[in-house]
Subunit: 150 residues, 2 copies
């Protein structure tokens, strides 16, 4: 893995970029099954939060809190899930995931197997999913405005 | 769920508590399959990080970074996993999980199904697991010393 090029150092995610500055970028995770799923990626190749110095760590977390704030304002999820794993790609990135009671995995983690749902529940989620997708451009615009204050 | 008593407000985890102050507590997650798995729990019943004010958020994250630092020093995991979900128990708590190449789920999330492993790999993990459990009292002592600086 260490010899392979890091996919977050040589990103193919340019089209999904919502905002960036010199330290970090914020991307939309497309086709994620969770409309509004957002990732905050530290630009430099660093593995752990405690590899950053305190001001860098603060800057990265301030971006994560801004994403959470705007996500709550614009998408009104029942719960926000935050995760920093990096087992597969050891380059610092945060998952910020809006969760709803109807979604494919609730109340389990999105990394767990999907739960059993009735055809009615699947249909209800599909409708809700489409409705949420309709909110994404306003969400991304509000994200850019908020992140410009970083 | 809102009518049931919150298990993090009325905790049965007293025996596993490593450290606490007025704002938060740090507990060992026993029998977790990941020796050193640690949870940082905000004492007050709050749902999201952005429900805290900035100094509270900073205090909670400073505790998480201290746990990560001591975990890396004492247990030397290949990777630290951080997560704040709260879908099942919407009371703010952080999972801080040490990960190793031999563990039951690596490189997947610990919430994913366990991966296939050969009998040799299982035996190697079992031996490593026991060795790591031998480090836990030193890890917890170092955690208490570090958290006393909070």
């Amino acid at each position: 893995m260490q010899n392979a090029p890091c996919p977050l150092c040589q990103p193919a995610d340019g089209l999904n970029e919502i905002w960036r500055n010199a330290q970090l970028r914020v991307i939309d995770v497309p086709d994620a099954g969770f409309p509004g799923y957002t990732r905050v990626i530290w630009n430099q190749h660093v593995t752990e939060m405690t590899d950053l110095d305190a001001p860098q760590r603060q800057h990265l977390m301030d971006a994560v809190w801004l994403v959470e704030t705007v996500m709550r304002n614009e998408l009104a999820p029942l719960k926000v899930n935050l995760a920093q794993f990096g087992n597969q790609v050891p380059h610092l990135h945060w998952h910020v995931i809006p969760r709803w009671p109807l979604d494919t995995h609730f109340p389990d983690a999105v990394w767990a197997p999907p739960r059993e749902r009735s055809p009615e529940q699947q249909l209800a989620w599909q409708g809700f999913h489409e409705q949420q997708e309709g909110l994404l451009s306003a969400y991304h615009a509000a994200l850019r405005t908020a992140l410009d204050t970083l």
